[in-house]
Amino acid sequence: MTTPQTAMIRKTPVAYAQQALKPKMGELHGMEVALEFEGANVENARKQLLGVTDVSCFQRFSVKGPQAAAWLAGKGMNTPAAINSWDEAAPGTMILRLGGSEFLLEDQYSGDTCPGLAKDFKQADVPGVYKVQRADAAFILSGSEALDLLSELCMLDLRDSALSGNAVVMTQIAGISATLLRQTLNGQQVYRIWCDGTYGPYLWDMLTEVAQELGGGAVGLSCHFKK
């Protein structure tokens, strides 16, 4: 039997779409990630105007089932009371309540909660809680023109007046199922988008195509997280 000498690096779901851009790649949480596309100056400007960043490498953990909320609470997680809303589950980790009984936790850049939960979870020991294997493509959409871009790709009303601060929107973006919320990241209001990873290359292409038309484009992870 062959065993790897070191842990294998996973591919980001959008690797195929990014390869033509030849980004400078790095690794975070065992997954390749585009750190930089065209240099800090260009990308900082895009970030302010309209930038698309792949954060599929963030760690995630998801459960569903009638006892999911109780199990998470038992693990010390703060769970949102309202359906389709999000909150901070633990320092550095956000939790999205997707419908009544499904939760998605995502460690932000500095968070490290999800691996522990995954390790603790034993299906047989927790009746009424089912682990949801995920392979999301996840993006940060930043900049003043983000709403303009979304107005082309999404039919829902995403204006400040319509989208409450902690609302989670499960909708269609560019014709595919996606989850969206608004978040403040390093003082900047940004939109976060998740979709099935197999649609990731398509959604990356659509987001960056429109972004480029509006003067923005791809932004590497380093632009948001300097370390």
């Binding site: 062959t2 790897p4 996973r10 690797a15 299906q123 009746p127 949801v132 107005s151 999404c154 007046s161």
Partner: protein
Amino acid sequence: MLSFANHDVNVMVTDGNDTNIRGDVVALSNGMKLDAVNTDGGVIKDKNKYIDSLSPLLPVGFYYKAFHKPASLFPFWEKVIRKAAGLGVVNFNYPRITKRKLNQHCDLLVIGAGPSGLSAALAAASEGLEVVLVDENRSLGGSLNYDYAGSDASRKILEELQAKVAATANIHVYLDAYAAGYYADHMVPVVTANGITRVRAKAVIVATGVFEQPPVFHNNDLPGVMLGSAAQRLINRYAVKPFNKGVVVTANAQGYRVALDLLNAGAKVAALVDMRAEGQRDDLVGELVRKGVKIYPASCVYEAVPTRDKLGVQGAVICPFDEATGQADPGKSVNIECDGIAMSAGWAPAAALLYQSGIGMGYSNEIQQFVPNRLPAGIFAAGRVNGVYCLQQRANDGMRAAAEVLRYLGKSAPQVTVEKHQGPSPSHPYPFVEHPKGKNFVDFDEDIQIKDFINAAKEGFDNIELMKRFTTVGMGPSQGKHSNMNAIRILAKIRNLPVEKIGTTTARPFFHPTPFGHLGGRSFHSHRLTSIHAWHESAGAFFVDVGAWSRPAYYQKPGKSKQQLVLEEAQAVRQSAGIIDGGTLGKIEVCGPDAALFLERFYTGKFADQKVGTTRYALLLDESGVIVDDGIASRLADELFYLTISTSNAAAVYREMQRWLQIWQLNVGLVNVTGAYGLINVAGPAAREIVGKLVSIDLSDAAFPMGAACETEVLGVPVRLVRVGFVANLAYEIHMPSAHGLNFWQALLEAGASHGIRPFGTDTQRLLRLEIGHHMPGYDTDGLTNPYEVGAESALAMDKPFFIGQRSLKIISKKKLAKILVPFVLPQEYSGEMPQDCNLVIDGSAIKGRVTSISASPAAKRIIGLAYVDPAKDKPGSVFDIRTDNGSIVKATVVETPFFNAD
């Protein structure tokens, strides 16, 4: 030029790729190169002028009757007619110009920025509503932009309103934009030169105003005869004097206002002809008389006198008009010299969007107009489209509508009173002047005269919808904006019915012609890729779409045909090992205490007694017993089943599972992990050795037989391993987190390199499973196939209390089968025309079935296939006939599967 309001058919031009530009409203810009559309020589050198002399022989509907026989000549006539009637030439080299299609949301959408719309928008915005205001013109104001009656009072009102709108942040204005249609939930596409914005509003105010309507008289299609509002637009928008010496023919106060604007522009008004017996009785009359304009009450323009070249007007013949009978008295006619005629006979509501919203309209005899009398929730009408004509009252009506919107949205608002219309009707009930020589046009696009309606009615087309189709009234580019109301009035007269009994034609979106590039917008062709896609591409994969996925059909190599490559890939699997990316397969986890019970009900087989670590075939039917899908159910734990589903059915099957779970209310959790897990299938005699290099478990037949499944680790990563037999007797599916797909693929290729492992695609997969004898739902079944027809009785646990489709199967099982799927071979050395999928199985002249799969098989060393045949021929050795594409008959023999000795 008739309207200067975006509805003039005779001034449509092309500028390069931009075609059917409306010359009456589109401003010239630098670099334009304009060609007239639908002319042959233009107005001055019109090569089709001869048709004018033939026109008495070409009554409406003539070509319906004249050219449909003999049928063989119709294509010729169709070409001639289309050339004569068509609009421009189709440019097959038209570039793809995509325009953005955006979405916008607001509290209130106000359509039309005339006095009513502006007042409504301002009133609503002042109460905090977010308002979108749309107008097709280049500036706000509607008729305030041009209808001045020689005074600047309207201009001042407009300036005030414009300033207020500009200072109101919560009014978003779209100018040069039209609201193209009304759709459910108050969705209105707003079209601009740059694209379409789908505006979704909580409420809509339609303040779209009215279209001016022409009176109808002989030669009313001459250049120089135009609507009064068109003359006003020329003067007050573009500073162009429409005539030097004009005649105004009117049936309302508007004509008097037009005359004053003409005088103010320096034109002479030779006469004002009022078709009403009573004429006008207000200050406008005195003002015109003071300025020397002669007014002819109870008169009509009997005919316009053309110039010698028929390119203009040189006079108007005026005679008394009996309003009650609609008869002119040409015996008392007067010839008045003039170079243009302005017409104002009334108005028709621009109510297309209201109609589309489901409004009810009634006919008001006070104003001779259809007005709303029943409005759907959230839709409001204001201004002239609502039957309100006085300028002050139009503003009031806008505020009244805004107040109603506020109340509709749960806010308080004061009652706003709008006074009813006072004085004579703004529209004439029958502004038509008959003439023995005809040429009194009702529809200027389609050249339809009064007599055409009379003839149509005589032929039985006396319903407005039938008359529209027979005469084609309203079917030209202006879509009846100047003709439909007049057509209704004529039909009412012909049938001696009140106008409201005639009704109106159907108003469909889009309200105005819209380029396909706008409608298409950006392409959203969503597609899914596995994490191995880049590798496939670099290896020369030829991709095919399977559902939403892009999958390799086979891997191309220079100098080799598809058939050669598929055979080579298949041989690799049979002789050593092949590897296929199956990540596209649907994958669903069914968890919980009732998981087995759920599967027992959902699929045809039994799962309650299935042992952990084993797989079972899962056949899904619909309630009528038709095969929907099949797959494999792996029991990974007492309360965890892992289902695979065919690629293109995954989403539909998951939806069905969710639906049935809602109905059955079982204690089950469903998790769709289609995208979360990658899947690689290693198949062939060397598969065990190759996979064995990566796993620590015992893969021997005894320890891990066909149908085994387990959770284990490969390369340090948790995976699910399943022993399958779809394409080969020895094959393993490895299900891994999808982000590891490429790592696993490369590791397996490396592990199998010494065995000559080769990737294969879906075309090869189809051949391989055919050699084994497996049918595939969707390929070998159709939307009517039941399990008995494919010999799947063994998958049916009819002794279960229930499964989807079971009841139907009980009925079907009592009936004689009409066809049955059988495996067949062609003669060993067959070299004739190759039968194809879907070629018919025949018996004499009777169709008995069809071929569903067929291929040359390197393993079986002959041509093999599956086909539906007469059930009487289902026994091995039976021979049946296949008719090939070239008509030749091929003898096929039923055999047993597998088609080759797999061991």
